[in-house]
Every structure is written in structure tokens, then in C-alpha cells.
Symmetry: C2
Subunit: 770 residues, 2 copies
Amino acid sequence: MVWNMLLSSRIRNENGAPHGHICLEPLRRPSTLLRPQTSRHLVYIMSLPSYLAWPWGPQRGRIPIDKSNSDETNPPDFEAFEGVTPRAPATSPLSVLGVDMRAIDNNKAHNTSKYKNTSLIARRNKEFIMIIRFDRPFSSQQDNVQVEFLIGSSPDENKGTYMIVSIGREKRDSRWKGRIIGTQGNEVTVGVTPDAGCIIGRFRTFVAVVTDLGKQRTQRNPDTDFYVLFNPWDPADQVYMSRDTDRQEYLMNEVGIIYNGEFNNITSRSWNYGQFEKGVLDACLLVLDAGKVPLLYRGSATEIVRQGSALMNSQDDDGVLVGNWSGDYSIGTAPTAWTGSPEILLKYAKEGCVPVCFAQCWVFAGTLNTFLRCLGIPARVITNYCSAHDNTGNLKTDIVLDEEGRVNKGRTRDSVWNYHCWNEVYMRRPDLPEKYSGWQVVDCTPQETSDGLYRCGPTSVSAIRDGELSYPFDARFVFAELNSDVIYHQSDKYGNSKVIYVDTAYVGKLIITKMANSSNYEDITSNYKYPEGSEKDRQTMQMAERRGVPTRDYFPLSEAGVDIELQADTIKMGDNFKLTLNIKNQTSQSCTLSATISGCVVYYTGVTSTTFKLENKSAKLDPWNTTRLLIDVQAVDYMPYLVEQSNLLFVVYGRIEETGVALSTMRVVTLRPPELTIKVNGTPRVGRDLMVIVSFRNPYNFILKNVQLRLEGPGLIMTKVKTYEQIVPGGSVQYTDTITPQSPGKKVLIACLDCAALRQVTNQLEIIVQ
Amino acid sequence: MVWNMLLSSRIRNENGAPHGHICLEPLRRPSTLLRPQTSRHLVYIMSLPSYLAWPWGPQRGRIPIDKSNSDETNPPDFEAFEGVTPRAPATSPLSVLGVDMRAIDNNKAHNTSKYKNTSLIARRNKEFIMIIRFDRPFSSQQDNVQVEFLIGSSPDENKGTYMIVSIGREKRDSRWKGRIIGTQGNEVTVGVTPDAGCIIGRFRTFVAVVTDLGKQRTQRNPDTDFYVLFNPWDPADQVYMSRDTDRQEYLMNEVGIIYNGEFNNITSRSWNYGQFEKGVLDACLLVLDAGKVPLLYRGSATEIVRQGSALMNSQDDDGVLVGNWSGDYSIGTAPTAWTGSPEILLKYAKEGCVPVCFAQCWVFAGTLNTFLRCLGIPARVITNYCSAHDNTGNLKTDIVLDEEGRVNKGRTRDSVWNYHCWNEVYMRRPDLPEKYSGWQVVDCTPQETSDGLYRCGPTSVSAIRDGELSYPFDARFVFAELNSDVIYHQSDKYGNSKVIYVDTAYVGKLIITKMANSSNYEDITSNYKYPEGSEKDRQTMQMAERRGVPTRDYFPLSEAGVDIELQADTIKMGDNFKLTLNIKNQTSQSCTLSATISGCVVYYTGVTSTTFKLENKSAKLDPWNTTRLLIDVQAVDYMPYLVEQSNLLFVVYGRIEETGVALSTMRVVTLRPPELTIKVNGTPRVGRDLMVIVSFRNPYNFILKNVQLRLEGPGLIMTKVKTYEQIVPGGSVQYTDTITPQSPGKKVLIACLDCAALRQVTNQLEIIVQ
């Protein structure tokens, strides 16, 4: 009955365009119209159900907005012009026999050959070519042909979701430019240039031959579907990058290095971004659909980045990854166990957008990086050492000590993360004053709700540096991560607390990222901050206060005149070691320092666990002199309590006996896990089998249980996961696999071993395939 | 077992504060500790379950953030100091016998007496008094007493969720200031001043007597709970308003007028904001809890406003109201049928935060207004006539006509709402440059997703006027609602379309709100816009372009030199009427205008429904002369098709025969519904019964079915709803009710009649109670 009504309404079409008002009159010629036929007529009838949702359909009260690239509505195969009743159209003077999107040639020119995808992948504002084959030679003077490109389920010429490119007799204005490049026999080569601001995603192609009776279209053909992506090569694109070295690193590099550890003991792990892997591009578009991002916003890199940061985490919107810092990852994969993003994104897509378990900051950042590079936005993962997690946004990180100098776990609600990873994207910000274009912070780790959803950014790095915090998005939060002061409080036995020390330099100590075209890191701290104590730094703080950051009203603190600092070397997990407390007396008086050194196990988020050490020391200090205290730490004391990434936090609470002045400092020590070895036998050559051997020995006196070993190599081998029930003390495991390199050049093998008692055991091996 | 572990851990307390690390050792003295007793000891044991969640409890990996004012964690009745094992404490030298929050006196001083609530309701930065009764006279030299105020389930002194005000011997710093005002016998009068930026919501009160052994607290007593709200009377508060007239209107007025209709036929309806009605304050706080707004953000009016705008609609977050523009409201209450907010907010609270069906813009705005005024934020509802709903944010509203000049419903994806209501709030914006403080736009009608959630604002009205669109939140969207150009396209039968006319003055025609202390409206258009075509207006558009609004690239349009304008008088629904098309020839040439006038039924959102009229007219125009055409409209033509608020849209498509130049205009006509009469018999006096009679006659020749009649009178009568199965043609209904005024002064009765065939039949009656 719906069909009858529909066909009836089609008959009553009076607008030139199909008329969507459903007519309840009885159908006049049902038998003719509904009879299955093999003619064009049948095709016309069969296309009606989608035609029901075609934009010319009925609307009541409100016009909906299209939020999916997967849903589609396609035009009818034959669209009659005014006054023409829906009979089979007269023979068309020209018929389309085939359309070839020339994927291989185009993709080379568009820098998209690396995508493991057989479709055309074009970049904005760059011409791609397509070949249309007709049943006779095409005349640009006589024939009138329109190439139509559609996206989504309510294509509209005024909204950039329906582009009509005319070739032939009749010219028309269009967002996408088209031209005839050449004709050869019955074939016409057409060049099409998507506009520089066009929506990114998967488009459908139709070719329509226009006659006086109407438009005769090609049928829906998935082979002519294609993708349009951002274009960092084009100055008109929002994500333009001028240097090729930068584009090669921040867009094209499939493997990256993510830094962790602590600021004076930097460690790292390789990460497979794998943005060109098979299925990853479709998974990224699916993420946008799952997040109901309106198609109309998908031409703006700002929007894609902001929505992407919300959609990488599962909070609010069933995004890609579930954050978990609890230590219990038994129902999923431990955050430390992953080696790259493709495994995660493909799992999310395959399981119908069910969030993947589990992630912590580097997994979030790594996966978002893949999403961004895949869609064509230059992006990198950065690490901020000593990143404040300020629950109130008042630029104060409050650490409460008890009377003995230990961290009072219950009263300390803020934490300083040993390190925190986020992303930077490179783009123009047309919504802001020009100087705030360039690198932007974006952070998809669910820390606090930004404006109601768990996400953060994009926010201009240079605006952060200048303290100009009014501009969107979330500048204040990022500024706090980098510039909070650490306020040490001491609470007495009556529950009264007082501020004993303020450290303005502890937070945002060092910000680094992988250097372009190098395996070293680049220190980008100066992008974010002027030197501590400089005039510019002072101006930044003043500007931040004018932009609503609370004035820092310190209680007057008497100057100790004594500096203390904790120092440690690289320490292997399971070793006994010594910490050094360096003490510098900058006064002309002798004095005595009494210090309490407490050691506790700490998560990388700065949240403390068991206190395993508490020791009192004192030192006589000569005027203008430096001295040091050594603190012995035994493995037996800390080993039973280690959590996650094996971090120890040492806090010193000191008191100058003569003056009663208090001072404090803290230091995180990241213990180095045992080594994982990766080897290959022989010289890697294209097409030749190569054996990979990953091996590990348990150096501890306890059994490692449920050990997961992961191996992957972008362009070499998809992720392999091997599980060992246990590895006994002193026992070894060895995993071997055979790979057959398909292309020459530099490749990376990444391996990771993970179990509840031992995390973050990773390694990578670079090989040159000949 | 949990309890055992817990008690064991309590025994092992070593921090001065309760120690949260759960100990797995066997419990040492289970029999003693778990034996039920009637002493303080029992109370101590009984309070343990909440103590488990007390902030001193264990944390792993991440620290959670408190998002509920309903959840509570309370301190133990006795909190021992260091080294004291948990035995019954020694007799306290001072005991608290009672705490009186002096609600009636305080509420008068705090301008909160109007709230129908028996608790203390304080405003920020203003002192309230409380009386503490001890078992003996209090000595401020000897005794040490702390008054504690807590909110939420993880109270923390450093986060503003746990305030300790010391009275007596020991002084301590605290966000809230306290002082002893006087002592009389065993009673002490204490003055407490919440800080100007403090969290708003419901607080709990404890009084603790501090001895060397520990703190002895009063038990949890809901009678000492109180509210803290924003304070527009205090210059230090973010929402300070200097003029009392303004505060009386925008904060204290419980009844408002919401304007609708069209810009040259302004109609209105009264709305019961009812912000002081019983239960409304708790419902508003519940909305924040349901929306999981972190307590830490609830001191910021900016956050409360922004989150409030998201939480009034059900999209994303199960907020208060479900938007529905479909015309089918059978499973709920039609948007047009409501008469005020309390019914809605109380229903939402009573039904456990299930969104209430249904709302359109004025219902959203009216309810948000209640929420804001109730929490202490000055707010008003404004109406923007001809409000663009620009789906792309490109400042173009595209209206596509077919060849005959009718609106092509399918191809027209934008709409201009006849009117759109939003709110303004008055506040400082510490996050923005100072000049952008003052009135801010906030809009909770779910139009587009702002930044992922359905909400909009706050955005500075003066920033909008200046085109400074970079600042948060959603300035661009609001700017488009006010400044879009209407672009008339015409599409030919081949589906080709061209721009025929651009109207830069149609949108954002008039912006009004109820005037303070008056029943008239105030034209506030100049707050939002400089005069069309002025130098300032030009500068605004330039600034907007520098802030990322796309440059308006009009195709060159030849000037017609002829102006056309549609004119209509006030028209009663069901009447035949005449439209006038005024034509002004501003050239020195005679010419002929051919005009097609189409009439269609339209929703207030500008979305068109059935076309019921299409007429061609032409006129000879003399040089420099004005002429007019009359268009007859018959009731029989439009009556069968009317939707919702009975709006008709007339579009004129004209062509100058001699030059071929096209021109276009449109005009909405809102038909006036039949009258609803409200009467009272006799003079209204306090305590005397008064009869209210609401009557209505169906003037049409069709039956009105399922008619809902609503009556309410703030401070007089809670909402009454009466349903009539049908009202036959010519038939009348009369509803009577008896009210007994409780207080003298000006009161308003509001009535509304609503059914599917007839909406927006409202009236109000002002009465003076003596």
C-alpha cells in the first residue's frame, strides 16, 4: 500500500522535482506499474524505496540533519522533467556504458597509494580524473551530461552533500569543478576537483545523461565510490603544511615512538599507527558515524578533531576505547599490552562499535593519531612529563602530607601524572585570530569532562604559551596541566592543615615528541612555555589571570635558603639501589636539616599506593655549601607492592632545625623492566621468507602468569598474540613466526610482553628490506 | 567480613585521619567491636559504611570526581586523633545539644523568603546566623569548636566541598568566614559567610567539639541542611545586578510573558515560572545531579548556565523536556498546552528524571528561565522574530522556488523560524575580556548540536553585536540566527538552480522581551545588531569574516529598482481575508510586474506544509510610483490544512517583464485563534473563597476532540487539567474552580485550551488580592 501511495504521488508530481506529498487517492494503473519487468521500467520501480527518503520527501515541523556517511539515499535511475508521466522514457540519444575512477593513477598523484584500499582516494582541491565510456562518441556541443557526487542520505546542492558537475552543452555553477581533459573514441576523460573545504568521507558517483524528457542516470555502482580526504599538500586546505619532511612524518609515517618513563629517565615504546592498513579508513569513518557527527561539519578539520577526541573514548558516546586505571584488566587487553592502533580500530568496527577494553593515555593518543593521519590531518603524539591533573582548574595541585612527611592518600585529591600523552594537530584556525593557527593540542584521554563530554581541544599551543585562555577549546585545562603549582600542605593531628611549601617548577617539566625523520625526540617545551621566571613567563601568568584563572594567593612562605633535590640513576626492577638527596645551603649560616624520606608505590597517574619506606635522616650544612644524603632502597621492600608501570614515588619533607622553615620535594623513579629480545635470521629481502624470534627470560623469583606476547610489523605482519600460562622463575619463552616482506625499505617489528605482575616490557627492531 | 577488615584497618590507623588501606590480617578483637551497644560506640560502628566511601578511603589508579549533590558521605561521629584506639571517647567537656539554622530570619535577609521551603536558603557572600546550644556556657578562650559544612560524597577542604569554620580557642583559615555574634546562657550565635564563588546547592551541617582525644561531632541531622544560591545583590558575585528593579524582574518575578506570533503582529502568552514553588528548588538541583555536573563546577554561573542549557532537553542526557515538532503529541502533553514550568520540573523529579513530553522553544525557554532564577541567576526569555535556522552555519538561508514561484519543499533544507525563543542571563564573564560581561544568550532548544551536545551558550550579546565570534560558546550559531541572508534560488525543470534574489534584512527582524516592571515588551534589537546598512554594521560583518564566517560571495544580481512588500492585518482563524502586495517603482521607467503569489501552511519553524493557493497577478507600474495588488484568501482554502500554530506563508515571485529581473519576498501570517475567557466572581481577598470561571465556545463547523484545558495561578492554585472529549460546532465549555488567596497583591491566572485541531488558545487574568 505504501508503494501504491508512493507511485500515486509520483504520478501527481507537479514540481519538476519528484513531489513528496503522499496522496491517498487510489492508484490509477497499478497493474502496469507494479508488474515486474526487465526493462528500465522495473529498475525505476525498484529504486523507489530509497526514493522515499530522498530529500524531496515530506518534512513535518522540523528538518532533520544527516549524521551518517553509511546511510545512503540515491536518486532515481530516471528522473522525469515536468509534465512527463512515468512511462518508460524514449530511447536516450546517449548511453553510459561504464565509469572508471582510475584509482591507481589518481592515488599516486594524490599521495594515497599507501592505503590498502582499491578505491579512488582523492584529496581536497586536487583534480582527479575519471573516464566515462558511452555507446557512441560524445559531443561537447550537443550532448548534456552531468556527473553527480553524493554523500549521505539527504544530498543537497546547497549543503555540499550533492555536487553536480556539468560536462557538455550546458554549463552550471558547482562547488566541485569539472572539465573535459580529452576524448578518445567513445571515451571521455573528465577532471574533477573537489573544493578545498569539502566534506571528507566516502562519496557515490552517478553519471546522468540529460534530455528534454529527463535525466537518465547510471545505476548505483559501489565500484565508483571514492573517498575524499584532507590535503596537507594544498595551501588552500585548512591542514596545509609547507615542508615535505613534516608531511612525511606527521601524515605518512605509519610507525611512531611514544615516550614514557620520567623526565630525567625517558623511556619509549614504538607504536604502529597503521593508518593505511586495510579497513582502517572505513573504521575511522565509522567512528564519525557512530558518534553522529553531522556530515555538514565534516569539512572542518576543527570539528573532526574535536569530535574525534570525544569519540576515541567510550565515555558518553560508546566511542572506541574504554579507559581503565584500576589494575584489573582481566576482561580485556591491558593498556600496556597493545602494540598499535589498527588492531583496536578494526576490532571496534568488526564488533559493531562496541568499545574496546582497555586503554590508558598512550593508547588513546596512539589511536587518535591513527584516526587523524588516516583522514589526512597532520598529527603527532607528545608526552608531557609531570602533567598536573588539577581537579578544580585553579592551577593548584594540592599534596597533603601528614605530620611525619608521608603523603596523606585520603586528603590528596589532585595528582601529578608522571607523564601524560596527548596529540597535536597542525591546522589553520579560521575561527580564531590568525596567530593561533599552527599546532593545536587535542587530548582524548578521559580526564575531566570538557564542556559535558570527555574530550579536550583543539586548543592553540601558542595561545597556551601566551596565557590567552578565552579561545576555544579547553585552553584552561591544558594550561593547568602545564603550569599548576604544587602546593605542599601538612595536616596536623587535629586535622588542621597549613601550606608548607610551594613548587612552581615541578609541573610541565618537559614536553617532547618524536623528531621528524629521526628516531630521536624533539624537546618542544618552548612551544608551550616561556622559561620559568622570565619576563615573558610573568606576562603569560598575568594574561591568564585576566582570562579568569584565579589569582594565586600564596600564604607568605619564609624562604628556607636551602634547596633540596632527589637524584637517581636508571634502576632495573628487582635491584637494590641508592637515592641521593642533594642539599644546597645558599645562606651564610650553618644549619641542620632534618629530613623524612618516604617511599611509596605510585601509578603513572600520580595516585599513590602502598608506602614501603619511611626513613629519617639529618645533615649538618655549612654556609654556601653543598652536601648529600644517601638513601638505601632494598628490592625486598618494594617488589611485593609494585603496580602497573613500576613507579616509585619518593617524597622528602625537610625542616631546618634552627629556623623551623619547612621544605619539600618529590621524585618519581621508574624501574626498568627486564628485556624482550627480537631477532631475525638472515637478510630481509622482498618475497623471501624471514624468521622472527622474540624471546624473554623471567629474572625474578616469582612465577609470571597469563603472559600475553604481542608481535606486529606494519607492512610485514598483522598483529599476532600468543599467550603463555606461566613463566617460572628463571624460565624462558621463545616465539617464532615467519614473515615474507612485500616491499623494500625500512620496516619495524614491534613486540610487547604483558602480565599482571609485569607490564611495559616492549621492544622494537628496525630492519631494512632489500 | 568487609566490616571486620574495615574495623581492623581502623585499628591500624596511623595517620591522624582514618586510614583507608584495607588490612587482611585477622581481626583482633571482633567480639568487643561488633557487639551491639547503645553507647556512642554503637553509633561509631553504625557510621562505618558511609565512612568506607569517605575521602580518606582507598584510591586506585585514578581519583574519581564528585558529580552529585544527592549522594552524601558524612564524617564519623567521633574522629580520634593519633594514637587513640577506637574505644568510647572520654567524656567530652562540652556537648552540643542543638543547632538552629534560623531559616525564617535568615531567609528574609537573604531575599529567599518567597521559596516555599522550610530550610535556610542563603546567598553567597552574605552572612547567615545560626544558634548552637551547648550543655554549659561556651568559652571562646577555652573551648574549641568547629562548624563543618559539607556537600557531596567526597568532601575536601581544598576543593570547596568541605568548609571548617572555627569558633573558640583555635583559629584556622577557611573559605567561609565565621564569627561569634553573641552568647547568651548556653547558646552561641554564630555568623557564617559563604564565599562569593562558592558551590551552590544543598549543604549539610555538623558541629564538632575538638579535644585532645579527637573530634566529637553532632549526628547527621537533615533539619540543619541548607541551600546556598547565587547572589545578584552582592557586587562580588558573578551574577551581580546593580538595579533593584532589574533584580525584582529578572530574578524575583514568578510570572512572565513570552512573545510569539510574527514581527508585525506580536502576540503573547503568560508563563508561570514558579521558581519559588514547593519542590522546584530541589528539582533544579536534581537536574544538575541527573546531568552529572561535577560539584566543583557548580560555583561558576557560566558552567551552571551552559550545563543547564544542555540539561533542559532530553537529547544526549535524558534532560528535562523532549522536543517534538511532529504535530503528533498523543503520548504526552502538546507543547502549546503547558502554562508554566513547575508542573514540568516537578513531574521530571517525581518520575525519577524521565524526560517530560513535549516541548517546543517557548517551553524550553520558560523552563530554563525557572531553573536559572530558582538558583539565583538573573534571566529572561526573549523572542527573535524571523530567526534563521541555518543548517550549515554559512550565514545563508537558502529558499528554493520552482519555476512557478512556489517553495520547493524538498530542495529547501533551511528554514526561517517565524519566531524563536531563547534566554538571556546576566553575569560577568571572567573567562572573557571584560567588555563581554552583561547579558548572555543561552538557548536550550535542541536545534543543532553545539560541540556535540544539544545546547547553546552562554555567549555574550555584545560580542555577537560586534561580530567577535571566537569566544565561547556558540557565538557563530547565534550570529547566524540573527544575521543570515535569505537567498532565493529558482530551480528550472532540468534541476538547475540559480540565485534570483538576496534579502539581507529579513532575518533577525526584531528581538523583544518583557520590560522590567511592566506588561509591555521592550525592543532589544539594538543590543544584538547595529542598524542594517550602517558603518558599524559593516564593521561587524567584516569582523565576523575575520573570525571564520564564510565571506558572502553573492553572484552579481541586477537591481530591479522595484520594491515589493506583503502586508496583512490581524486575521482571525476561519475568516476570509485580503493580503496587500505593495509595489514601489523607484525607477524613471514604466514597467510591468508579473507576480506569482503562492500560499502554504507553515510550521512556526518555517517548514512548509500544504500549498493551498497559487495565483498570478500583474501590475503596470508608473515611474517613481507606488501601487498595490490585493490577493483574496478564502477560509475554505486554508482551514483544512492548518497545522499547529496556524501560520500561513505567502511567497511572492515577481518578474519585471521589460528587464527580466526577478524579485521575491515572503510574509508569514499568524491567524488569531478564538478567545478563551477567564473571570472571577467578586473581589479577591486573602482567606476568602473566590470562584474562577474559564469558558470557551467552538466557533467552527467542525468538532474539537480531546480538548485539554489547563488553569494555573502562581501563588493561587497549582496546575489543574480538565479534559473534554469533544466540543461540537457552536458548543461551549465552562470550567469552574474555587481558590482561596493566601497573600495580598497582584496575582495572575493563566489558562490554556489545546487540541490537535486548535492550538495556542491562551489567556490570562490579573487580579489584585486585598
